[in-house]
Symmetry: C2
Subunit: 192 residues, 2 copies
């Protein structure tokens, strides 16, 4: 019945366990033995699916990044309104972060540590192409600031990661009103 290949069940459990443990106490406090235990497999089994701990982390990162970008561009199709297109993608991203909190927290932790291979990071970045294309189009049409995409990212996507972290620490709940305000602020910072 299920479409999940047999061997993939344990692999998926390991991925989930890694995300949970790294979120709760960081990379350095997620020993292989605990990951295995949480996933319900024995320590040695990890090495049937991953070459090493580094490989495990990299693969988890890429998998989560991929899920993120799939969500970011769900139901997205270019219209002739740059702002409408941007809004669609931005809310997709916000929805992902609010729905898949664990995955989003894991990503935000990865983005600021040297624990991810540069190669994996580069690969993760390629997924954002459609957003970069949209920004370029907006810049050609004169509706988006003519600045580096890194600046655009810093003021639209990156703040959401911060807000999610604050919510998880109990400081600032991300109510729908706050999410809407965040969108307005994002758009105001990049529009011309």
């Amino acid at each position: 019945m299920s479409t999940t290949p047999k061997g993939e069940v344990k692999r998926a459990a390991l991925v989930r366990a890694t995300i949970t443990l790294v979120n709760n106490s960081g990379f350095h406090a997620a020993p292989m033995a605990r990951i295995a235990k949480l996933a319900g497999v024995s320590a040695g089994t990890i090495y049937r699916y991953f070459e090493s701990k580094q490989d495990l982390i990299n693969q988890v990162y890429l998998e989560v990044k991929s899920a993120f970008s799939v969500s970011a561009f769900r139901d997205y199709e270019e219209t002739d309104s740059v702002e409408a297109d941007f809004r669609k993608i931005w809310y997709n991203i916000a929805d992902f972060k609010l729905r898949e909190v664990e995955q989003a927290l894991f990503l935000s932790q990865c983005d600021n540590t040297p624990m991810i291979d540069e190669a994996s990071r580069q690969e993760g970045l390629r997924h954002l192409k459609p957003l970069l294309d949209l920004w370029e189009r907006g810049q050609e049409l004169g509706s988006i600031r003519p600045v580096s995409p890194y600046l655009l990212y810093a003021y639209t996507v990156y703040p959401v990661a911060f807000l999610l972290n604050m919510q998880e620490r109990g400081y600032c709940e991300l109510t729908p009103a706050r999410v809407d305000a965040a969108y307005e602020m994002a758009w105001n910072s990049i529009k011309i």
Copy 2:
């Protein structure tokens, strides 16, 4: 001649070494022995200045956070222009991050990992009071969006940390023009 008490020299060296090592490869790859070596002292000496590794990390964090806030409010005094006041603080922050790259990178790594005690984090936050006061004043005067300070922080200060990380990875140099653009984007996102 120097105002530095004798014993503080090695302590300061240890703090610097910790920052450098944690920046280069993360918390988990900064063993006490290497910190000691880089600081030019022996491993045991660390424990004359710090109770444990956790204590070392916490103290370094607080010291850097303190240096950060001192810079943030250097030469700052309230005027009757909220925007001018904000601009002053924002550029102070940007200058600190550009001048004290190592310290800024260390902070951005601390802000997204669970490696800092919640207590230390709270104490680090208190330093930002003048900025929070300014925002409150701006909100009362109707020139700053009436939203949570976490939102204001997410769209003004936090993006700079991202940009610095990108610069350090060689993706996006923070030229003066880019810094000015970043300021404009920050202000546009929070002004009414």
